[in-house]
């Protein structure tokens, strides 16, 4: 029935293509050239290497691959000597390219300092395998299985990795069995809420309608989150295969990928992949003679955060203003154009193709009781190794921070971990043994979210963090419902007041009342979760709020208006450096005599502290009862 021979031919062709790379005669150079790699200079590096090789009459095949994950090591270049095992290096910045060519290609050696590992499970000529790299060792790369290893624009590369075998299996076993398989896998929505995927599908499947839709939600909008982008840029077919399977199961005829326009590379790769699918008969009428027809259209979002919300996303596709509408009716019953619609996150769909390829029984080996499989996270903040990681659900948060992430920068004390982006919350250091799963994170006052994970240390002010996240949701509120539109602004106003030292104790009560009103009264998920950063910091770091209000003290020395600058007369040698640097002439004092800062004139720019010679370190900051002599860390802004 199904045109299996068509696929057989394709797979044979894919094997051929792939073996060109595996059994290479020329060296193969893999360049991690997703957006993250490009930002780090991967394309420049590639260009320089190419030119140098030509100049030296050396030849190699170049493959542009997706993101491997370790952002701190970008650009990552992998070199596979002829007939050998690929060896991974990073970071190879454009300025390192020349040395790289000399060491690897001309001297045919290994550049130990830049070595990440060999792409093998065992040691190879004394070189450590990449799996032993401390950042990668604890990870399980299922969703990211092909990212960084295959050419995302090469259809055969995906096929060679077992691609579309999941879809073939789905056609083979039928929709009911697919649903059963997904149910058995325990897969839950990776967009944040964790709704069981099979339940959503079965609602839509059971609803009678002449038309049904499947939407892939690629409107990733959390600040600092890039999990979906990496998958779309590194392995678009894994998501599209998931869409085929989902569309087939629920009985949809049309699929949409709603991708934000800020992801041009992801959109381009999706377009290429969809084109390839049409060319090879995996989209369109009567796919593989199975009777199943399916089309996929890309819809570009204009960058509104709220359009990640299901009903707002639907409104946006329909050409309306992206504003959510109340549910019920749920989209699975009445969604796009009033038809049953299933909306799944990119990562969920990438999981679906994997589950069908390898089976639910294989899939459930990862994760714990209620949270199965793996989850990708964008690890950021005050951590040694930032980047995109994928871990099995259920492992302790501590393991993610200290093993995958390598611990805290400058070996400071971890204060909290923020998960779930602006809808999430802060989990304090005492709770780091918490397993990373949907229920545990929710219970702790945060959420799984789509995968943002920001590590905060003692230099982060928790009130300021809450203020930052709230300012994001406040600005992104669509303005439709009262609690979210007005409430978030009112809360933000109070937080700003507290951060500027004008708070009163009543403000904490007001924040709590407002937070409850917004949580309970808002129309959509954006509003309902917007107070989470404030509520969770109030829950675990109430003392910081109280210090800000009562003692006008910011223990992290972040909130400018609560910090004053002083000169220690014991230490000051009267070198006049600070007086010269002060832009407002707030510092007075005679040469070789201790200087004084006039607090009324001082604008707290910190210039004096920066210029005070370390041999004196006479300038110090005070906030409440706390005093700090150490210089300002310029890095601070990053987590901001």
């Amino acid at each position: 029935m199904i045109a299996e021979d068509t696929m057989q031919i394709l797979y044979e062709r894919a094997q051929e293509e792939w073996s060109k790379i595996e059994k290479n005669t020329l060296p193969v150079v893999y360049v991690g050239s997703a957006t993250c790699g490009r930002a780090a200079g991967a394309l420049e590096t590639e260009e320089i290497i190419k030119n140098l090789l030509i100049k030296n009459k050396k030849y190699a095949t170049f493959v542009e691959v997706g993101c491997m994950g370790p952002c701190a090591l970008e650009p990552i270049i992998m070199v596979q000597p002829s007939d050998g095992i690929p060896i991974c290096y990073g970071p190879i910045k454009p300025e390192n390219a020349e040395e790289f060519v000399r060491r690897i290609f001309l001297e045919e050696g290994v550049w130990e300092e830049k070595l990440i590992g060999v792409m093998s499970t065992d040691e190879f000529h004394g070189l450590p395998p990449i799996t032993r790299h401390p950042m990668l060792a604890p990870q399980v790369r299922n969703v990211l299985r092909n990212c960084g290893l295959i050419d995302p624009e090469n259809f055969y590369h995906y096929l060679a990795q077992g691609g579309y075998r999941g879809f073939l299996k789905a056609l083979d076993i039928g929709a009911d069995a697919v649903l059963e398989e997904i149910k058995k896998s325990g897969l839950r929505g990776r967009g944040g809420a964790g709704f069981p995927t099979w339940r959503k599908w079965s609602f839509a499947r059971e609803t009678q309608a002449d038309e049904k839709y499947l939407i892939c939600n690629a409107d990733e909008g959390d600040p600092g989150a890039f999990m979906n982008r990496s998958v779309l840029e590194g392995d678009p077919h894994s998501v599209l295969e998931g869409m085929l399977i989902a569309g087939y199961t629920i009985g949809a005829r049309h699929g949409y990928v709603y991708c934000r326009a800020e992801y041009p590379l992801a959109i381009r790769r999706l377009e290429i992949a969809i084109q390839q699918m049409y060319e090879h008969g995996l989209l369109g009428e009567n796919i593989l003679n199975s009777g199943f027809s399916f089309d996929i259209t890309i819809k570009k979002g204009a960058g509104a955060f709220v359009c990640g919300e299901e009903t707002a996303l639907i409104a946006s596709i329909e050409g309306n203003r992206g504003m959510p509408r109340p549910r019920p009716p749920f989209p699975a019953i009445s969604g796009l154009w009033g038809k049953p619609t299933v909306i799944q996150n990119v990562e969920t769909l990438a999981n679906v193709s994997l589950i069908l390829q390898r089976g639910a029984d294989w899939y459930v080996q990862y994760g714990n009781e209620n949270s199965k499989g793996t989850k990708t996270f964008a690890l950021a903040g005050k951590i040694k190794r930032t980047g995109l990681v994928e871990i099995p659900l259920g492992i302790p948060l501590r393991k993610v921070i200290f093993e995958v992430g390598g611990g805290i920068l400058d070996d400071k004390e971890v204060k909290a971990v923020q998960t779930g982006g602006p809808s999430g919350g802060c989990i304090p250091a005492e709770m780091l043994d918490l397993p990373v799963d949907y229920e545990a994170l929710t219970k702790a006052g945060s959420i799984m979210g789509s995968g943002g994970m920001i590590v905060l240390d003692e230099d982060n002010c928790m009130v300021d963090i809450a203020r930052y996240f709230l300012s994001f949701t406040q600005a992104e509120s669509c303005g439709k419902c009262t609690p979210c539109r007005v409430g978030t602004r009112a809360m933000l106003g109070i937080l700003e007041r507290i951060c500027s030292g004008k708070g009163e104790m009543m403000d904490i009560l007001r924040l709590e009342t407002l937070a409850q009103t917004i949580k309970q009264g808002s129309l959509c998920g954006l509003g309902q979760t917007a107070p989470n950063p404030v509520l969770s910091t109030l829950r675990y770091f109430r003392h910081e709020y109280e210090e800000h209000i009562k003692a006008k003290e910011c223990r992290a020395f972040v909130c400018g208006p609560l910090i004053s600058y002083h000169i220690d007369p014991e230490r000051c040698a009267g070198c006049t450096m600070c007086a010269k640097a002060c832009p407002v002439k707030a510092i007075s004092g005679k040469r070789k005599e201790p200087h004084v800062i006039d607090p009324g004139t001082c604008i707290r720019c910190g210039q004096c502290l920066r210029v005070c010679p370390t041999i004196y370190s006479a300038v110090y900051r005070r906030s409440g009862s706390r005093v700090r002599y150490e210089p300002i860390k310029e890095r601070k802004k990053k987590t901001g």
């Binding site: 600005a475 509120s477 439709k480 419902c481 409430g487 978030t488």
Partner: protein, 842 residues
Amino acid sequence: MNVVIDGKTIEAIKGETILECALRNGISIPHLCTHPALPPFGACRICIVEVEGMRGYPTSCSTPIAEGMVIHTQTEALRLLRRNILGLMMLEHPSACLVCERRELCDKYRPKSEKVGATTGCHTCNNKEVCEVRELSADLGLAEIMVAPKYHYKPVERSEPFIDRDLNLCILCGRCVRICKLHQGKSVIDFVHRSSQTHIGQAFGKNLHEAGCTFCGSCVDVCPTGTLSDRYAKWFGRPDAEIKTTCIYCDEACALTIYAVNNKAVMAKGLYDHLPVCVLGHFAIPEFLNSPNRLRTPQIRVNKVLRPVTSEETVQRCAELLKNYTGTSFAFICDTSSTLEDRHVFKKFTQEVMQSPYYFEIIPDKKGYAKVANIPEEVKAVITTGLFIPQEYRNRFEVVIALDIFPSEWTKSADVVYPVATFAETSGTVLDRNNQLRPLVKACNPPGEALPEWSVIQQIAKTISENWKEYTSVEDISRELGFDSAKLNLDRSSAPPASQNLKERREWFKGHCMENYVTGLVAVRNFEEGNPHEEKTSIKIEVNIPENPEHFTVLSRRELVPNTYEFVIYAPAIARKASPGQFVIVMVDESSERIPYSLSDWDENKGTITLVIQEKGLSSRKMISVMEGERLAHVVGPLGTAFEIKQYGTIAILGGCYGIGAVVRLSRALREKGNKVIVISEARSHYMAYYEKELTAVSDRFIQTTIDASSGEKGHAIDGLKRLLQAGEKIDLIVAVGCPFMMMITANETRDTGIKAVCALNPIMLDGTGMCGACRISVGGETKFACVDGPFFDAHQVDWDEVRDRREAYSAEEIQAISFTMPSTTIQGEHHYHQCSCMGRG
């Protein structure tokens, strides 16, 4: 299908929402953004309920009812949440009046004609009498505002035809957006921007006409606040009558509801929520009917001049004139805007009394304009019910009797002019384009001595012919015509073409061009011709004030708070002579009203005076639209008796509204004399408070009170004073300067303290020198002139009711003046965005 709501088992209908089911069964759930004509929206979140087994608090307006649902609508948690949500909504809507303890007293006392500026409280709101927000806040027991409200500082949009839009009141319920989509099938208006910047507007800053608006007015009808208002109707308050009738502007014969106050039509709208009417049906009726140009008295030509006479004389004259023109020398010309009953009488009169075959019924063309030229040569006498005969044919006729609503060349050259009732001023039956009979119901009185057309003709008929069978009422005629009044209905299933396409509208009625009587239609025409009416805005232009400016030049003008402006005027003679407590009288131009303003400050050396002026009515609006560098026509002063500056002890000076500005100099002078001066300044909310720094500098203690407690203490200035007294502060004298209401409550609530209280009265004034007596008031039973004996009087002796009544004396004229001049006059729209001093407070 059975459901349980608040413990009651109820039969529900499949497909309805929880709210619909509850309301149908008499269970009230508070709601705001939902509207019976509109699909659910779920934005305001007021109608939330608890449903057992459902997560959170679903909105009842959007949740479909389902078998076996157990719903709670009135739990404590719900009440609290609803109140908190409303509290949040009120942060973006002027809300101080909703939580004011003296609200009811204020409602009774405040003047009605102060709806000129941007709305900052209920008393100046367009919607005051019919406000869903007020009702809801009373229902939910809203008593306090949690955090300081945010005022939008949006200029009131007054440049569109017929519709005023004050976005400062908007709660973003989206009703207007949804009804526009429903009625027009497009989004002329929509939500613009996001988060707290969200507002209702047209795409890309277009004006309404460019955006495709047909001025069907449906958005105004559904607005629950005063954001969108009918520019004409907003002045008249709550209508006392509501009459369903048929529109006779064209043969679409739409069903309308006419709202009337004191038998005067003030507002009209479509009868059906689901169907729009056209611009004329919605906006053009009250202004057209109430036009000051209407014919009011019968007139006959005496010695070549038309003179008003009694109706008997007029009828008599008609009979005399027509006597010699029976048969084919007479013709009657009417059109189909007269009722079938009217026309029956016309026809009968022509045929039976005048025995003429020439009865003409004109059917107006598409625009409503039709004139006849083919009247037989033999006709020498005509009766017309409108402007139907081109003026060049006038000389053909020896006798012209004009029944009409408006004067024209035709009426001016007629032998007899009789004013008649039309439209909602009369009853009868009309025929629509589908030959269906529709009832026309009287909703208001005709102007002056105007009568229904049939009744005028019947009187003439009776005088000429003894055989005329008299009709006692319209029903009499209907009966004769065989109309079954029970079969008349207002049913309608489709929208009139003009509601979808502005170009389809009628432009003429009874031969009169409607633009001449409905100013908004002029604006529509201007928009169509690409000359939109633009407001004068105060984009600050560099003005070079000369070193020796002319007298009364405005040297600086700035907006202190919404509607309140500080003017510095060059007036060296006044500055030289002024003393604390005195005032000036300003005339903006040669024909302006004379308005008294307290002197806020002055500078003898620079020769300047400072006035604080609040935009309240027509004249103050004229005043605030004077820009820097421009000149006022006259400033007279200083007037009034100065406040006696001497040693009193401890003085409490209470300032409110424009009065805050007036106490600066007084406070300084009293303090310099060795008094302890406590200044208490009241404002509705933090964004209405001004001069904090100035007043702190001139007082020993400055107390700010706001009604919503958003800045300083809660309450009116008097509450601040009472707290002082309670705390044991010994006060020797109270001075209150502000609106009459504020001074009245200060007087009433300090009467028992035994402390002397003086207030600065500001009644209507004309000359300001004690001649005209316009400003007279009663103090302690004695009549005083506020201009020369005042402005300061013993507050406890003032007859406050009289003060109020005298202030209200000309409010009808004020409303008339404002409503007739506003749409056509270029009027100030203030930009609060860039240069405004209130920027920092937003």
